[in-house]
Amino acid sequence: MDLQIALLLGQDGIVNGAIYALLALALVLVFAVTRVIFIPQGEFVAYGALTLAAFQAGKTPGTLWLLLGAGALVALIDTVIAVRAGALGRLKRIALWDLVLPAVVAGLVLWLEPGDLPLVAQVALSLAIVVPLGPMVYRLAYQPLAEASVLVLLIVSVAVHLALVGLGLLFFGAEGSRTTPFSEAQFNLGTLTVNGQTLWVLGASAVLIVALYQFFGRTLYGKALRATAINRVGARLMGISTTMAGKLSFTLAAGIGALSGILIAPITTVYYDTGFLVGLKGFVAAIIAGLVSYPLAAAGAILVGLLESFSSFWASAFKEVIVFTLIIPVLVWRSLTSHHVEEEE
């Protein structure tokens, strides 16, 4: 291997690492707030990328129907509950978030011709379709089980993952898609050629991470999410409801996932089931961080990205073996250094 290749691999690794970092942050967030190991994260990546690709191909993405359907289902369930509890005051909000909002998005998509819109508008529409699915998935799958054990929540996650992958295949078919790059520019740094899209990924990841940091550090809702993660009982006593925190964290996770998908779609071909392995590597990074520390999760993600890109060069058949096996010593080290006093769960 010469320097040229090493630099190229390094660049690849860092780009992938940046995406894993974003996913890891979302996973850490969701776990800390809800104790859900969010395996379907990968599906939001695929949905984001493929929804955008559908727009660019001049098609109406199937995710739009999912949004309308899931919204209607949530509205139905919540309305029944609200009527039974005699809390009719909730109906307005239910109608707004679960019926009107999806309808507006659908109206926009069907009325505008998204294929001819500028990229920014296409991205915005894609996000408008995919992101609201996050809190809806929380409402439908997880909220009734909010107090269940981590194991049960994990199994539910796998089930949600299966359902969403199946829907992905239904909506987008088995063929993969690529989208147009955000930028066609190329830069030469010495012997290394850097693509504009690479810079886009890195830049957008950095901006997103800073934005999240600000959200958690500066806004009351961000602090409320952190508070729930730190001390659930304490947060409830402040009137921060577990359901609200859950929905908010799922919204953020869906947003991060969809955006990650949109960022990588011009670089790699995304298939309906691409999300799982991508998400799994984000998961690896998150676990390196013990599902608690955001900076460590980001560092772990870069490590996973680099490990992956270099091992794919040396022994591509064993790429996944190497990535996942080398994680074990890291895990053992983490587990030995983090003092863990057993408490009943």
Partner: protein, 586 residues
């Protein structure tokens, strides 16, 4: 015998199955059997033991590939190959267990994903295992000269293996080692204090689950007569976990119900959905996912417990057989110093919880440790019993330094304790909870337990538990769920559990809290009797009436330090104590 009836009907149907059912259903039942064996291991490991594994499919692969390779490349007998496969699986499981079982909390599932994926990719990339095409031409299994070359014949072997494994697992769970396994989830700290080596217990169930998986793989290889890597991947590993959780992860029968339900559901969806939606699209996985979510939302403990609730079975009154008493430890002579704490200090980060603590307890005396809530009394208990060792200082028990020993080793030396926040297994019976206390007084292992060859010892252990329960006045509640007792009686249960270990020093953390007046009196009576038999008792208690009427000496703590010591009357009149203990606003 009535309770056995459904089981006998089930066995009968099972035996008749192959002669009545069409080929397709026999094949389906064969797969259900194979999956159930793996899932059964997961029930033990994940549902009962609390250790989540995504990697069981890899162990199935080890069993399948071991026999596939040995029988095709070296024409080894399949039965010998089974033994080799088991040995290889055991070795791999021990290494992986050593590496990953020490992973705490959520690291463990990821660790299992890691080696699950790695082994899967190895199967696909090793030349001698045939790469992704796999191995073909695996020979037919012969049993006593009888060739098992059709699914209908193989059926009996699979289901015999499954029923055998279920029986062994059920036997194991209903034994001394089984109680230790059941204590892993949510009671690890307590179990260690009762002398259970939880690290060893975890390794054992990991090993058993891996070996079950290996057997399933071996059967699979000879049923299919070829192997390739596909059925041993991570997604299949996840599916086994599905089966366990949906069936009822904490129940032996849950394995069968889960494997059956999921296998049939998938098959049914594959048949039905294309008829509704046409051939295009992959609807079964969508429906499968949604149905699983709905099932878990309705029955989060799984289907089996839900089924059991539907069929109200009247519990026949069980009895504990009389058995020869267990041998007892020789009690130290009254007045011997049992426990000596010298300059003990305990620090949590910057917070000093205990400082400069000195106290002794002699055989045949009750020493009371009192002080306001939060004074560090329970921390002191944890230091003495090795649950959370001292930062510095010396603790001697029976003259030997124990401050560096684990709680398990200290328990072995004759110290029994109760916990301030009751630590018992709420869904286990009172009797079994108490029998955990006698863990160190039995010695029979997992193998004899699975075969129920240890019934004589087990009877003695249970008889001892019953004796101690009767002694503390809980004889009426032997078969009640421990969690159904009022809190005060749960504390008394903990005393019985501690007594079951035949201790010479008893550490009681607020034993009278939540008791009514008469119950307190009988508890005091019991402690007096123990004292007269030479037991040393160290007591933390807030009820002053109780303490002062019982204690021989009193140590008063505040802010982690000793502020007074002496006879009850002396302490009561010590102005420092009055100030600290009574507080007051002016």
């Amino acid at each position: 015998m009535k309770a056995r009836l459904p089981f006998l009907v089930f066995l009968g149907l099972l035996a008749l199955g192959p002669s009545l059912l069409p080929e397709f259903y026999v094949t389906l039942l064969n797969y259900i059997g194979l999956y159930s064996i793996v899932t059964l291991g997961l029930v033990l490991l994940t549902g009962v033991g609390g250790l989540t594994s995504f990697g069981q499919a890899a162990f199935v692969g080890l069993g399948a590939y071991a026999t596939g390779y040995l029988t095709t490349a070296y024409a080894v007998s399949p039965w010998l190959a089974l033994l080799v496969g088991l040995a290889v699986t055991a070795a791999v499981a021990l290494i992986l267990g050593f590496l990953t079982l020490r992973l705490s909390g959520h690291y463990l599932p990821l660790g299992t994903i890691a080696w699950g994926l790695s082994l899967y990719f190895l199967f696909g990339n090793l030349e001698f295992l045939g790469g992704h095409t796999g191995l073909t031409g695996i020979p037919v299994l012969e049993l006593a000269g009888f060739k098992l070359d059709t699914g209908r014949e193989f059926y009996y072997l699979i289901w015999a293996a499954l029923l055998g494994a279920m029986l062994a697992t059920q036997n194991l769970l209903d034994s001394r080692e089984g109680r230790a396994i059941r204590a892993l989830k949510g009671g690890g700290l307590m179990a260690e204090s009762m002398g259970v080596n939880t690290a060893r217990t975890k390794t054992i169930i990991f090993l058993i689950a891996a070996l079950f998986a290996c057997v399933s793989g071996w059967l699979y290889a000879h049923l299919q007569r070829f192997v390739n890597p596909t059925p041993f991947g991570l997604h299949i590993g996840i599916e086994y976990l599905f089966m366990a959780v949906v069936g009822g992860a904490a129940h032996v029968w849950g394995a069968l119900v889960g494997a059956g339900l999921i296998t049939i559901l998938k098959q049914w969806l594959q048949d039905v959905l294309p008829k509704i939606f046409g051939q295009s699209g992959n609807f079964e996985v969508i429906f499968f996912g949604i149905m699983l979510i709905l099932v878990l939302q309705r029955a989060r403990e799984g289907i089996w417990p839900w089924l059991v609730r539907l069929v109200p079975v009247r519990q026949g009154q069980r009895t504990v057989a009389e058995a020869e008493a267990l041998p007892r430890r020789e009690m130290p002579v009254a007045g011997t110093v049992l426990l000596e704490v010298k300059d003990a200090r305990k620090q949590f980060g910057g917070l000093v919880a205990n400082n400069n603590m000195n106290l002794t307890v002699k055989a045949g005396e009750v020493m009371a440790l009192i002080g306001p809530n939060g004074a560090g009394k329970s921390t002191m208990f944890n230091c003495i019993s090795g649950v959370d060792p001292v930062t510095s200082g010396e603790i001697r028990f029976l003259g030997e330094r124990v401050d560096a020993l684990t709680s398990r080793e200290i328990a072995r030396r004759g110290m029994g304790r109760t916990f301030q926040h009751v630590r018992l297994l709420p869904t286990m019976s009172v009797l079994e909870n108490v029998a955990i206390g006698a863990h160190l007084r039995g010695s029979k292992g997992v193998l004899s337990a699975s075969l129920h060859l240890e019934r004589a010892e087990e009877a003695r252990l249970l008889a001892e538990a019953k004796r101690q329960l009767e002694r503390v006045g809980l004889g009426e509640h032997l078969f009640d769920e421990a969690g159904s007792l009022p809190l005060g009686q749960q504390r008394i249960l903990e005393i019985a559990r501690a007594l079951c270990s035949d201790p010479c020093l008893l550490l009681l953390d607020e034993p009278a809290a939540g008791l009514r007046y008469l119950e307190k009196q009988s508890l005091a009576e019991l402690l007096r009797k123990l004292r007269s038999q030479g037991m040393g008792i160290l007591l933390v208690e807030h009820d002053m009436d109780f303490v002062m009427g019982l204690a021989d000496r009193v140590v008063v703590m505040e802010f982690g330090e000793k502020i007074s010591e002496g006879l009850p009357e002396e302490v009561q009149n010590d102005p420092i104590v009055l100030e600290a203990y009574l507080g007051g606003v002016e």
